[in-house]
């Protein structure tokens, strides 16, 4: 059969299928759309993939444009890092949980701090009442970090810290704990979230206005390039943007736009792109729409590589490749029938792995109620171990490449992100868009649309608006944070303040203020403050005097 008649036969077959295909009475009256409300076709064929060029768009793992993954050998050589985000109550309780997880095969640590620590307040602040140790572990001074990492060799473990507006303080504490353990800062490995832009867009933990906040970040990038070279200085995060209600395309676009903003900020202070770009890392959500998520990760790597090489002229391939952490979607979990969350999380974890993540946190089933119990977090960790060892998905690299559907979705998400980049540029960049509330409004609108779809039953959430168990009585054990934690923490802070050299605290704080006013790198004087047990709030108070504070105009 010649080429023309073969094509005719294919076209005829397609036409026959189209004729037979019936959309008049969809199953359960469903709308065929992704979790981002993106319409999906009933069938994808080679026609959809016509414009895809294998070498240009897909290629090989470990090679530009990295669509298939950032390493040539991916999980066959090294599994993703199983890293459960945890921290609660007192530093001693958190230390105990870390030893529990490490004994059960967890490979890296990820610290969750409480809200006062995240926001720069000490445990004895009037703003901290009721919040100490509740969402994470309470840290006021270096003493607390010494307890959290007691018996854990910082020269051997990698640690991720979810901390943003106070990130440089916590990094300085980590470096100081390492000093006490005799581990030089050059050996430290880990990640600081340190992504202030997404705070203004989604997570909303800020102290200073955007400009000085970015200044603190570029200080820290320059300091790490010299003294903590293996540290991932920013984890540019889409996770929280997604949790706030964004679609997959918005998560992708706003996160990468934030990334480009940091690159431009560092270039503006005179850094060479190849000195800092290899230490930038990313953090994405894994929501429930399996293929859309996988396509999102693939598109993200390709967009980053293309922009870093073509637009920002990075020459080192390490600057082109996007490494990322994934966490399953907390916002997808339900309080109803909480055991169902184990299943949701397993699908989401699988999508993260098929999308080529470098590390993964799988949520625990009880997290719509509280921080997880030991039992729940162990199940979540086991879920990852099952994916890695039993499902076989890690046997081959990027197994969904070449799928007409996945490649089409990958292209469409890239195109949607590019449209957002144009819109953001037209509005004057990310900072201007934050100021105007544009990004926040896009996310809030998507969140409201999603909620309306649920209420109209255009979208089914098992146990919430269908398959509901009447008179459901949820009986799962929950972790309780004892109110005693707050008073104990305040007492221990008092003791630290009594035992330290208060003159030295004053003089190091004065030096920090002077450096901030002079526009010098604040990291070295900050480290001096930390070493003499200056508290977090003493530091943020001084920096607030220099930089001022940020207030968000309430937008609804």
């Amino acid at each position: 059969m010649d080429k023309t008649s073969r094509k005719k036969e294919t076209d005829d077959a397609y036409a026959r299928w189209l004729e037979e295909y019936d959309e008049s009475k969809p199953d359960k009256g469903r709308k065929f759309m992704t979790v981002s409300s993106k319409p999906i076709k009933p069938l994808y064929t080679p026609k959809d993939a016509e414009n895809i060029d294998f070498d240009r768009d897909i290629g090989y793992p470990g090679q530009y444009p990295y669509t298939r993954g950032v390493h040539a050998s991916m999980y066959r050589k090294k599994s993703w890092t199983m890293r459960q985000f945890s921290g609660f109550g007192s530093p001693a309780q958190t230390n105990e949980r870390y030893h529990f997880l490490l004994k059960r095969g967890q490979m890296g640590l990820s610290v969750a701090f409480d809200l006062p620590t995240l926001m720069g307040y000490d445990s004895d602040s009037v703003r901290s009442v009721g919040e100490v140790g509740v969402c994470g572990v309470a840290v006021d001074t270096l003493k607390d970090m010494e307890i959290i990492f007691d018996g854990i060799d910082l020269g051997k473990i990698s640690t991720s810290m979810t901390i943003n507006c106070t990130s440089t303080i916590l990094l300085a504490m980590y470096i100081a704990v390492a000093e006490k353990q005799g581990v030089p800062s050059e050996m430290l490995t880990g990640t600081l979230q340190n992504d202030i832009l997404k705070e203004y867009i989604a997570q909303k933990e800020w102290i200073y206005p955007p400009e000085p906040s970015i200044r603190l970040i570029t200080d820290m990038m320059a300091f790490c390039a010299q003294h903590v070279p293996k540290w991932n200085t920013i984890s540019i995060s889409g996770y929280h943007i997604r949790e706030a209600g964004a679609t997959a395309a918005q998560e992708l676009a706003f996160t990468l736009a934030d990334g480009f903003t940091y690159v431009e900020a560092a270039l503006a202070v005179g850094m060479d792109v190849d000195t800092f770009a290899p230490r930038l890392s990313f953090f994405f959500n894994s929501h429930l729409d399996f293929f859309e998520e996988i396509a999102k990760y693939r598109a993200a790597r390709r967009i980053w590589a293309r922009h870093m090489r073509e637009k920002y002229k990075a020459k080192d391939p390490h600057s082109w490749l996007m490494r990322f952490h994934t966490q399953t979607a907390g916002c997808s979990l339900t309080a109803q029938q909480p055991e169902n969350n184990i299943v949701r999380t397993a699908f989401q974890g699988l999508a993260g792995v098929l999308g080529g993540t470098q590390s993964l946190h799988t949520n625990s089933m009880d997290e719509t109620y509280a921080l997880p119990t030991e039992h729940a977090v162990k199940l979540a960790l086991r879920t990852q171990q099952l994916i890695a060892c039993e499902t076989g998905v890690a046997n081959t690299i990027d197994p969904l490449a070449g799928s007409y559907f996945v490649e089409t979705l990958t292209n469409e998400l890239e195109a949607e992100a590019e449209r957002y980049f144009d819109e953001i540029a037209k509005r004057g960049g990310v900072l201007k868009c934050i100021e105007q509330g544009y990004l926040q409004r896009e996310v809030a609108d998507a969140a409201y649309r999603f909620q309306k779809e649920i209420e109209k039953k255009e979208r089914i959430i098992v146990g919430v608006n269908d398959f509901v168990e009447e008179d459901e009585d949820v009986k799962i054990p929950l972790l309780k944070i004892d109110a005693q934690v707050e008073s104990d923490q305040i007492a221990s802070l008092k003791k630290v303040k009594q035992g330290r050299d208060n003159d030295r605290v004053k003089s190091t704080l004065a030096a920090l203020k002077k450096a901030a006013q002079a526009g010098e790198n604040h990291m070295p004087p900050l480290l001096d403050c930390i070493r003499c047990y200056t508290t977090e709030e003493e530091i943020t108070s001084v920096l607030t005097e220099v930089y001022g504070t940020y207030t968000e105009p309430p937008l609804i």
Partner: protein, 139 residues
């Protein structure tokens, strides 16, 4: 005089999770309520002052940080101290059933938890508010 119900929505404490409260604000507005949103990180004093100044019929608090057992009573106490306990206090968040009962016992009118529909909240306010505001005609 005809008027709409006025609702103050507030995020007290340090919690920054505002997806829920924004969805509620949009839904209440679409359902015909007048909605005032305080923005983030309000102290209980600020919430009480805003409620009185805006002369609202109800205050809705959203707390997802676990500090609800501290913050709800603080706002309630502030309303009482300022002679504004005619204002209905309701809220939502990650709150266990046993704690909901404790909050209701202290005077919080209703608590909505994850999975509640915005329609549930609209219906609740439309049912309860006319009972406490009798003198005026509400549209």
């Amino acid at each position: 005089m005809e008027r709409k119900f006025r609702i103050l929505l507030a995020k007290p404490g340090l919690d920054g999770h505002d997806r829920g409260i924004k969805v509620i604000a949009a839904a209440l507005r679409d359902a015909g309520f007048e909605v005032i949103y305080t923005g983030l990180r309000q102290t209980s004093e600020q919430v009480v002052a805003a409620a009185i100044q805006e002369d609202v019929d109800a205050v809705g608090l959203s707390i997802l940080s676990g500090a609800h057992m501290t913050l709800f009573p603080m706002v309630l106490e502030g309303l009482r101290r300022n002679g504004a306990d005619h204002i209905l206090l309701f809220g939502g968040g990650i709150i266990a059933d046993s704690e909901i009962q404790m909050l209701k016992d202290t005077g919080v009118s209703e608590i909505f938890t994850p999975g509640a529909s915005t329609q549930d909240i609209v219906d609740y306010l439309n049912r309860v508010l006319p009972k406490i505001i009798k003198d005026e005609k509400i549209i």
